[in-house]
């Protein structure tokens, strides 16, 4: 498969489900089970939602990963939004600065295998997650 990478811009609410649906297709290509595909798509939905909610604009890049033993999927969610001042707090359960709905980051971490966050207040946030088949 040639087209192993897909970028989805997030600027409208409908882009959230668009990014999640793309992730589902990529997860299928990578060889995830149906349950695994749902988990990847849900994680992407949460990440895209955070961009839309907190940064208004950003992008989600999805790609299939290949290593010797198996395949996987990587999602990078990037924005130039307000950033997260206290990552420790953001990774705690039910932390929220918006409308009572959490950032969902601990959930995203549980749905995926690898989780990395780079953020700087006033500059933006980049979250990279991976899951292996």
């Amino acid at each position: 498969m040639k087209n192993k990478k897909k970028r989805v811009e997030i600027s409208e609410e409908v882009n959230i489900v668009e990014a999640a649906s793309e992730a589902m297709i990529f997860a299928q290509i990578a060889g995830f089970t149906r349950v695994g595909q749902h988990m990847v798509a849900t994680a992407v939905s949460e990440l895209a939602r955070n961009i839309y909610l907190y940064a208004m604009k950003g992008e989600v890049t999805i790609r299939v990963l290949e290593r010797k033993t198996n395949k996987g999927i990587q999602i990078v969610a990037e924005d130039n939004g307000p950033g997260i001042a206290d990552i420790g707090a953001a990774m705690k359960e039910h932390f929220s600065t918006s409308d009572g709905l959490g950032l969902g980051l601990p959930g995203v971490k549980r749905l995926m295998d690898e989780f990395r966050i780079d953020t700087k207040p006033g500059v933006g946030t980049k979250i990279t997650v991976r899951k292996w088949v």
Partner: protein
Amino acid sequence: MEKEITLSKVGIHVTRDCLVVPIQVELHDELVTQIQEDILRRVKGEQLKGVVIDLSGVAILDSVLARGVFDTAQMTSLLGARTVITGLSAGVVASLIDLDFEPGNVPIALTLDEGLQTLEPYVKPKEEPEEAEEPEEEID
């Protein structure tokens, strides 16, 4: 206009005195709000006692979408109706657990048909009970 699009997409209808909401498209916030409004309006307007929200066509249910659907179920209970959520797939359920989602005490059933069955005691009987077929014996 928008409303008609939603209704045709989702095909809300009444069966066995229950409002059946079969969702066969991917959800997004606006659609959830629209469906929520449709359900509440019809439950109130038609004095329905039972609702089945079938999510068998939904693959992606993140924390916010799930909250919207489950909140709708709880709202109907304030209107005197009981809502059962059906058709959650293994993947959706696995994801909701990882997201630490609190389902509250919304009743769940595996299939739409099972959902309708669990609502039977709450909705009005389909037909008038058979009466006066055999007149009571007169006592002299």
